[in-house]
Amino acid sequence: MPDHGPLPPPDPDRVTPPEPEEIITPAGGGAMSLATSEAETLEPVSGKARSLWSDAWHDLRRNPVFVVSALIILFLVLIALWPGLIAGGNPLTCDLAKAQDGPAPGHPFGFDAQGCDVYTRTVHGARASITVGICATAGATLLGSVLGGLAGYYGGWWDALLSRLADVFFGIPIILGGLVFLSVVPSGSLWPVVGFIVLLGWPQIARIARGSVVTVKQNDYVQAARALGAGDRRLLLRHIAPNAVAPVIVVATIALGTYIALEATLSFLGVGLKPPTVSWGIDISSASVQIRNAPHMLLWPAGALSITVLAFIMLGDAVRDALDPKLR
């Protein structure tokens, strides 16, 4: 522009509607009403403020898969916290005289080989499974997303090193690794099992987190914040993490189901949880020998396990559908 004087008078031949560009004074009364009227009449979408999360929640509530799986999980969490709510008995009180007996009044699922009530044991077994599942997922997700996220953000040798390390852990056969690892650490309690699952589970999360961060990092809004002088912390926590977290949540939810199954597998093999801990894996293991003459002993803990794993995987699926921007 040649000078910074006032705008030239409008061309009289031209029909110039009053337009927002004419507003010169910021926050002036008249100017404000003009700007407001423009924005009001032209509001492109509905007035509700909606973020991706509220959109996702809106979708989820209408998804029957989510509703069913969420109800099952809610129920499982409740009985894991307070098994006494629906099973008043003690799972460790057994009566050998009733070993392998079928259902009886007050004992709807019958008795196992030790004469313990299968119903009580199945209900109490939820606690071990849910605890291992949640703790292992939390651990793996925390470790994986921090390591993977940093690798994706900083790149370079740190990324190369981490990716190779993750490959090493990916290469460990899970059952063999479990047998070796858990037989050398003093086991019996939940924590070695949780630790082992975290150890093998984090690379999967790290890969997802790394990829997600690499994608988000390239967005212009991250560049814009960088151009404003934002530091690494702000970029990571405020701009990258909230936008990169969705795929991690999806994978973590699905992983939770598989971790529960993994705990049962390890307990079945005798290296996971051990009696007197009550666990579906242990019960399945001891019942499997008697499958011919007392199938009910296997049916109930195995059924509970399948439903639990399925519920978490369904939940993960529903969450993915809701969070995947490509589907909207």
Binding site: L7, T16, P17, P20, E21, E38, T41, L42, V45
Partner: protein, 357 residues
């Protein structure tokens, strides 16, 4: 600039003498493509978006129609409905007819229609890189068309692929036939897309923003190529674009779309000389000029309407400098302005008179 009257009259100095007359009468055969009162809606969570609300246009062999509009005007959805590739759900064609050589595509058996697609009707997309398969060489993708549709042998179809690539002026076609899409530049990829569309010598090509992703110097080349091939093959061509400048050289007539409706149709020269709809006029005036600096740009105020809540009356009325009460209540039909020209504005006469540019 000589004053032009809006009455249609033959122009003594057409820029291109080879161009066939767009209005040539031929009573013996039906027009190539005749879209009548087409309606398409998208059923989304936010409501029903009326993307196309009664669009009618026709294209004959050897004719080029440019469909001009901004994003959300329904220009691409109309073309997708003609091709039968509207994503459904959420998109549904809820009314109208699409006659291709006199047959209604919308009521045709899906299998018959599928066979027409590609062979008789072809489409060119904006983004050639994503429209071509990245793991197959361009030669394979081109020759596949002949092997599948015309039962040619591998060798013959390969030769035909090279011939096609030469046709769209790809230098050293013989050496490049085994290259993959990413090895070509943007302009060359667009040529390959055009070659694929041409392969089966279709009667009608719909090009959806064919040059938008290209640089200016390449844009001109691709546009010229399209115009030339259209002449050579005597095809009908529909050019969908948001850029009036791009089509000015090659189109015979233009249909301007706004909020899912056609608001003005006219031969290109007349549209430029004197638009008969305030929206068209606003668009023309808001383009900065290359030959002169000018002061402030004319800006159409506001934004295109939300398609789930199109304003009553004329959809352009909230943004229109001419809007009167009638515009807010009565939807203007397409008024005949001159032979070959229509405008959906209650005040087309005033717009036209004022608009002698």
């Amino acid at each position: 600039m000589p004053q032009q009257h809006h009455e249609h009259r033959p122009d003594p100095h057409r820029p291109d003498p080879h161009r066939p007359d767009p209005h040539r009468p031929d009573p013996h055969r039906p027009v190539l493509l005749d879209v009548r009162d087409l309606q398409v809606e998208f059923r989304t969570r936010d409501g029903v978006a009326k993307a196309v609300n009664g669009v009618s246009y026709s294209v004959d062999a050897g004719e080029t129609l440019a469909v001009l509009g901004e994003s959300g005007s329904g220009k691409s959805v109309t073309a997708q409905a003609v091709m039968g590739i509207v994503d459904s759900p959420p998109g549904f064609v809820t009314g109208g007819q699409v006659f291709f050589r006199g047959q209604d595509l919308l009521t045709m058996a899906p299998e018959t229609r599928r066979r027409l697609r590609g062979a008789k009707l072809a489409m060119i997309f904006q983004d050639a890189l994503s429209a071509l398969n990245p793991v197959l060489s361009v030669g394979t993708q081109l020759s596949e068309m002949f092997m599948v549709h015309e039962d040619m042998t591998r060798k013959d179809s390969r030769a035909k692929a090279v011939e096609l690539m030469e046709r769209v002026r790809i230098p050293a076609a013989k050496d490049r036939v085994n290259d993959y899409p990413h090895q070509f530049s943007g302009g060359m990829r667009q040529r390959i897309m055009i070659a694929m569309a041409l392969a089966l010598e279709p009667d009608l090509i719909i090009a959806d923003e064919p040059t938008t992703a290209l640089d200016v110097t390449v844009q001109a080349q691709v546009m010229d190529l399209l115009a030339e091939l259209r002449r050579e093959y005597d095809m009908g061509l529909i050019l969908i674009t948001h850029d009036l400048g791009v089509v000015a050289d090659v189109a015979d007539k233009i249909a301007v779309m706004y909020a899912g409706r056609i608001v003005e149709t006219a031969p290109v020269r007349e549209l430029y000389a004197a638009p008969a709809h305030p929206y068209t006029r606003g668009l023309l005036d808001s383009i900065p000029r290359l030959d002169r600096k000018g002061e402030q740009l004319y800006a159409i105020k506001g934004l295109p309407p939300n398609l789930t809540a199109i304003p009553p009356g004329c959809p352009f009325n909230p943004r229109c400098p001419r809007a009167q009460d009638i515009c807010r209540t009565d939807r203007p039909p397409l008024f005949p302005v001159a032979p070959g020209r229509t405008s959906a504005c209650h005040f087309w006469k005033e717009t036209l008179d004022e608009g002698q540019r």
